[in-house]
């Protein structure tokens, strides 16, 4: 099972010191946090995507590439990549590029986004958000699995004889997680392709997520990818850890009280009782996280939100230290001990390569020479199969 952190990339005033970090400071801090996450033994670092202040992460692949250059082991992911307002062709290209540079330590989580104006800013219609997401992913999937794509849809310019470059590393696309709070079509799409499903899980009632996850597991099995228990599930959570419960609550309370995400309404105690938020001693975080498994079944990836609400960098790094030393090792042991036999591990590039090729050398696409017109045609690579029926654009 993988444990990691995810960030929404908010730049928030520290309610205790009164300081608001600059964009420059917060971006540098994000890299420090990711490097620290690897140092303390976490498996995953994921960053969100936003296109308005007070957030910084408009270009996740750039950030993740910089982190990839400074780390060796941690898997880099997103939380989420906007499958609605991004051109799926650009997603295919950018994340394949990142995957090469990170030597396979890349996957991504797709989401529709919850900032309404982003749709018109990028020329999209929010009322079409769901079909847009579904159609875009169908195209993204083809761009990553087929060398040459002829495609026509409702929301994007048609493609004829298009090859997305570079081809995914070892011709194995980054693993895709589909994030959704309440949309069965997204769960169905994840199940159809045998992709992962991520339930942000930050707001309960948990019954909603529970039924969505259950539906995804059933449909995953229906499409022949394995048993319902072998479906690939990820969950979010939030934690603030200190040596004692009292200390954790005293330290986190000013951040909780000031954070707009908590609505300035219910008390921290109410949130702790009713949502996955954990604020307490390492043992309290462990107990609460173990309860997720009872709700959703054995799962593959647990991400914690640790760097939001204006918590200063020093505190976040201390939190990661505690998470890595006192919480995660116990969770690994306890989750493993409770795990039913036959449950899948979280897919990694290595496991996906092995699943595709066994012990055979992975495919390494080598392009054919340029014909002089910059159009590669039906056989862009020396080993491209067939090449049927491409309609060339008129030149």
């Amino acid at each position: 099972m993988q444990f990691g952190i995810f960030s929404v990339s908010d730049i928030t005033r520290d309610p205790v010191s009164g300081d608001t970090p600059s964009e420059a400071e917060r971006i540098r801090a994000a890299v420090r946090i990711a490097v620290k996450a690897e140092e303390v033994g976490l498996d995953v670092f994921a960053i969100g995507e936003h296109h308005n202040p007070p957030f910084f992460s408009s270009s996740p692949t750039t950030l993740l590439a910089a982190i990839a250059a400074q780390t060796q082991r941690i898997v880099l992911s997103t939380s989420t990549t906007l499958i609605t307002t991004n051109d799926p062709v650009r997603i295919a290209e950018e994340y394949a590029m990142l995957q090469h540079l990170a030597e396979g330590r890349v996957d991504l989580m797709l989401g529709r986004g919850n900032t309404a104006p982003v749709y018109p800013w990028f020329g999209k219609d929010i009322r079409e958000g769901l079909p847009l997401a579904l159609e875009n992913y169908n195209l993204l999937h083809r761009l990553w699995t087929e060398d040459v794509v002829d495609w026509e849809g409702r929301y994007r310019t048609a493609l004829q004889g298009f090859t997305s470059i570079p081809r995914p590393l070892d011709d194995v696309p980054p693993f895709v997680w589909h994030g959704s709070i309440r949309t069965p079509e997204i769960a169905e799409q994840a199940a159809y392709y045998g992709d992962g499903f991520f339930a942000n899980n930050i707001f309960w009632p948990k019954q909603h997520f529970q039924r969505l996850v259950q539906f995804y597991r059933q449909r995953f099995a229906h499409y022949g990818h394995g048993t319902p228990e072998q479906a690939v599930v990820g969950l979010g959570g939030q934690a603030y850890i200190a040596k004692t419960s009292q200390q954790a609550k005293a330290e986190f309370r000013p951040y909780f009280d000031a954070a707009p995400v908590y609505g300035n309404g219910p008390s921290m105690e109410e949130y702790l009782a009713q949502t996955p938020l954990s604020v307490g001693s390492p043992q309290e975080i462990i107990d609460k996280t173990l309860s997720f498994r009872e709700t959703f079944g054995d799962y593959q990836r647990q991400l914690f939100l640790m760097d939001h609400a204006g918590l200063p960098l020093g505190t976040v790094l201390d939190q990661l230290e505690l998470l890595g030393s006192e919480v995660i090792p116990v969770l690994r042991r306890e989750m493993a001990a409770r795990r039913a036999p036959g449950v899948a591990e979280a897919p990694t590039h290595a496991s996906l390569v092995h699943a595709k090729y066994g012990n055979v050398e992975p495919r390494q696409p080598r392009p054919n020479p340029n014909r002089g017109d910059n159009v590669t045609g039906t056989s862009p690579y020396q080993d491209t199969e067939g090449g049927a029926g491409v309609q060339y654009p008129a030149l």
Binding site: N138, G153, T183, P184, Y192, R211, G265, P266
Partner: protein
């Protein structure tokens, strides 16, 4: 399944009352309607159970639900109660030419499909008869949005109505209409035959209560989800 079979003859009425005092004229109107329902159910040999959800004690938690998205335990209880209804009484006072804020706040946080094909009696009280059309102008439209089946007669009591025998007559009529809608089992029939055609999300308390049935896996969106395409426009 045996539970369902046993309780299928019993009509479960849930009243949502947004009255502001204890007891309020809104609650009085609800109680009169419940009394009429009990009498008529008894006459037709029908078992009837009634629960009244008073919104006033939920006011603070409802406000937090609206601002934070976090559904508190008492609001959740009320939502669960509503989801278990065969027929609903929706009752609000009118202060300023509209349903009360508390009443609207509750219906702002219910699940979108929980009132699908639900028989609903519309009730309002006011200090003046000039608010009489709030029931038909606003409440009927609100419950049309929820795709509920509102009883044809609305029950409004504004000042002088409390001294008029016609209030009793109308109460009897609303009771008869609501009971007829519930007894005809029109809701389970609609959900049973057409339930899958309503697009619903997994936030549905109606789903949790066993309705409106399974998802339509053959919808355009579901086909798109599984690698299909939309007709280009």
């Amino acid at each position: 399944m045996s539970d369902t079979a046993q309780t299928s003859d019993r009509v479960r009425v849930v009243a949502i009352s947004a009255g502001m005092s204890d007891s309020s004229s809104t609650r009085m109107l609800v109680d009169r309607l419940l009394a009429a329902l009990h009498t008529q159910a008894k006459e037709s040999g029908r078992e009837l159970s009634a629960q009244v959800v008073e919104l006033r004690p939920l006011a603070a938690e409802l406000a937090q639900t609206v601002t934070s998205g976090l559904v508190g335990p008492r609001v959740q209880d009320a939502l669960d109660t509503l989801a278990g209804a065969d027929a609903v009484i929706a009752a609000t006072p009118v202060y300023r030419a509209g349903v009360s804020g508390l009443f609207k706040m509750f219906f702002d946080v219910i699940e979108g499909d929980v009132l699908l094909a639900m028989p609903v009696a519309l009730l309002a009280t006011a200090g003046t008869p000039r608010h009489a059309l709030v029931v038909d102008d606003q409440m009927r439209a609100l419950f049309a949005y929820f795709r509920a089946l509102s009883a044809p007669t609305s029950l409004f009591a504004g000042g002088p109505d409390w001294g008029s025998a016609s209030l009793s007559t109308r109460t009897e009529r609303v009771a008869a209409e609501l009971l007829a809608l519930a007894e005809s089992r029109v809701r389970p029939r609609i959900l049973g035959t057409a339930g899958a055609h309503y697009r619903h999300t997994f936030d549905g308390a109606a789903d949790a209560a066993g309705t409106p049935g399974s998802l339509d896996l053959g919808s355009d969106l579901m086909r798109l989800a599984t690698g299909g395409s939309l007709d280009p426009e």
